[in-house]
Amino acid sequence: MSRSFGQLIKSAIKTALQVNRDNATDLLEFEVRELENIFSLLILGGFAGLPSPPSPIAVELLPYLEKELLVLIARADLAQDPIGVLAGMMEVG
């Protein structure tokens, strides 16, 4: 009984620590995703009329950009509500 109580405490502390870690890196993770999105936009923006490097450079990089493409598509889905995304990030409301 005491052993399982100890484990419960341990698990609670571990969860609390993880929540703290998640809170600490939330903004940074958001920034990384935004940077990845900008990176993809810079490379692939030429196809949508944005200033970008010559398209053959994009073709050479494309085979390694699957993750960034998925971030770009996910970001485009949220693009209609940028304030909402920011408010969610800041835990407003």
Binding site: Q18, R21, D22, A24, T25, L28, E29, E31, V32, L35, E36, I38, F39, L42, I43, S52, P53, P54, S55, P56, I57, V59, E60, L61, L62, P63, Y64, L65, E66, K67, E68, L69, L70
Partner: protein
């Protein structure tokens, strides 16, 4: 090292004739020479009297020639990229790739890049087999675009590398603080990041080409004794200056085509100048190509290369 020669100029001034005569003169002076036509509308084979292909064909002892097939280079790179994408991407993301790559074939910039890839291949793979490689270039617009690509694309690649470094550094920070974060599971190291590695690789190739154009090449501009070709030569000179590519010589072809008084433009008069007479009968054999008189230009090129 100054053993690559490029002949630039307005369409019809005699780039193919003079580059052919120059390559032949060098070969007959004992140098092993490769002449490569980069012009999509090839006529080097007509001048040399041989049907050419994408690989060197021996024209006479010490002189080989080839005509770059730009469609082959466009297909090669797009197919390599397509195969790599199919291997790396999950099925759903790679869906509809074929139509994307079919569009890319005709995308602006692809042809200029194909010329660059072809020059890189000739310079790195075939160049070491020859003493001199002579490039017969396409008309000015395409030539200036491929000459400027290493500098312009190099700037883009530099910026993209810096941004990628920033992303990787932030991913590292997240991974240190919160190893359970999904970002920590992605690549955080420069040496392991394939995108960073590919950017580094493209950057290296572009700087090698930039060096080739700016430091290792003998760039000659060809004019006729008329205002239009001289005006275009001045624009070429201005663009080369902007790119940091030095002009090595000016060739005046078809001298004597008209009796009108003509004097070289002051901006071009400071470069070593070589004159070539107009041949009314045209060129139909290699002996007639020799008679064009590129020996002085070849001697100047060899002295210059010897002094460097």
């Amino acid at each position: 090292m100054n053993d690559r020669a490029f002949f630039l100029g307005k369409g019809g001034v005699g780039k193919t004739t003079l580059s052919g005569a120059f390559a032949l003169s060098l070969a007959r002076k004992g140098k092993k020479v490769l002449i490569a036509s980069l012009d999509p509308a090839h006529n080097l084979g007509d001048i040399l009297g041989t049907r050419l292909s994408g690989e060197p064909i021996t024209i006479e002892p010490r002189l080989d020639a080839l005509e770059v097939d730009l469609a082959y280079w466009v297909d090669k790179y797009l197919n390599e990229s397509r195969a790599q994408m199919k291997a790396n991407y999950s099925y759903n993301t790679a869906f509809n790739l074929d139509s994307f790559f079919n569009i890319m074939k005709y995308s602006p910039g692809t042809e200029e890049y194909a010329v660059l890839w072809a020059i890189e291949d000739i310079h790195c793979r075939l160049g070491p087999l020859y003493n001199v490689v002579v490039f017969d270039t396409p008309p000015t617009a395409l030539s200036l675009r491929f000459l400027s690509l290493p500098v312009i694309s190099g700037l883009w690649v530099k910026e993209l590398r810096q941004l990628r470094e920033k992303i990787l550094s932030k991913r590292q920070t997240v991974a240190r603080i919160n190893p359970e974060s999904p970002i920590a599971a992605s690549c955080i190291d420069k040496d392991e990041d394939k995108v960073y590695g590919q950017l580094k690789n493209i950057g290296l190739r572009l700087s090698r080409l930039e060096l080739l154009f700016a430091k290792e090449s003998f760039i000659s501009v060809i004019v006729n004794p008329d205002r239009l070709s001289v005006d275009e030569a001045l624009r070429i000179q201005e663009e080369l200056n902007r790119l940091g590519i030095p002009l090595s010589a000016v060739c005046v072809n078809k001298k004597g085509i008209s009796d009108m008084a003509w004097a070289q433009h002051p901006s071009l008069a400071g470069y070593p100048q070589f004159d070539f007479d107009f041949t009314r009968e045209g060129i139909s054999s290699r002996e007639e190509l020799m008679a064009v008189g590129a020996q002085a230009l070849a001697a100047h090129f060899l002295n210059r290369a010897g002094n460097q």
